[in-house]
């Protein structure tokens, strides 16, 4: 498993290729990339700053991958999350999963994103023309994360 927390951008093509070519029994790679949107809750976004808790962040991301490996038949997984100050259209996060068959990869990838949203210690602060504001956690994210406890 690979977990990286970094200020630099990442190259999705390169990362997915590494994951895909790692083993010849891999048939599927599912990935999620998140990017900074220009508008959030109706306001234009100038910049987005991501703070995190060094040490705990890496541990929690590794734990999320371990949970996914326990639940689904996947080969490997990767999480790259950026921190620092970003702008609209910048990439924020990449979550990717390789597996023999597609169903496991889709489930594991979505599970990892939902858990990352509620368990990994990252915090976002937006700068808008009206000033700065910390993002509030969303009930929808808690719900998305909680539904995995009900699925097989």
């Amino acid at each position: 498993m690979t977990v990286r927390v970094q200020t630099e951008d990442f190259d999705i093509g390169f990362e997915l290729k590494q994951l895909r070519l790692a083993r010849q029994d891999i048939g599927a790679v599912v990935s999620f990339v998140g990017q900074v949107r220009d508008i959030n809750e109706g306001d234009a976004i100038t910049t987005l700053t991501l703070e995190h808790y060094p040490g705990m962040t890496e541990k929690s991301l590794e734990n999320i991958i371990s949970q996914a490996k326990n639940r689904w038949d996947i080969v490997d997984a990767l999480i790259i999350h950026r921190v620092g100050t970003l702008q609209p259209l910048d990439q924020i996060v990449l979550v990717a999963v390789s597996s023999a068959h597609r169903g496991d990869a889709f489930n594991a990838c979505e599970f990892m994103m939902d858990y990352l949203k509620t368990e990994a210690p990252f915090w976002k602060k937006e700068v808008t023309p009206q000033g700065e504001r910390w993002l509030e956690a969303k009930q929808a994210d808690d719900d998305a994360s909680a539904r995995w406890n009900m699925k097989k």
Binding site: M56, K59, H81, V93, P121, F122, W123, K124, W134, A137
Partner: protein
């Protein structure tokens, strides 16, 4: 006992503290009791830790509930609900 404290995001900014070393009596203390103790430092502390804001806590890098017990040497962190991804 001695513990290390960290604050993140809105808490860090408002309290103007990112980390501190804290000496406490040698007896088990829960996250909730520690919060109450820190809240006595003043209005801002009270509002941030015991007010309407949801505060989450971690002990040694693990998310914990308010009734979790802190031990000597632990690293304790307080922060708002996470918003990454």
């Amino acid at each position: 006992m001695k513990i290390k404290l960290f604050y993140f995001a809105r808490l860090k900014e408002t309290l103007n503290y990112s980390t501190e070393d804290l000496a406490l009596p040698d007896e088990p203390i829960t996250i909730l009791k520690l919060k109450a103790l820190l809240a006595k430092r003043g209005d801002t502390w009270g509002q941030m830790l015991m007010g309407k804001l949801k505060v989450r806590a971690a002990i040694n890098h693990e998310l914990v509930a308010d009734n979790a017990t802190i031990h000597d040497g632990d690293e304790v962190a307080f922060f708002p609900p996470v918003t990454g991804g």
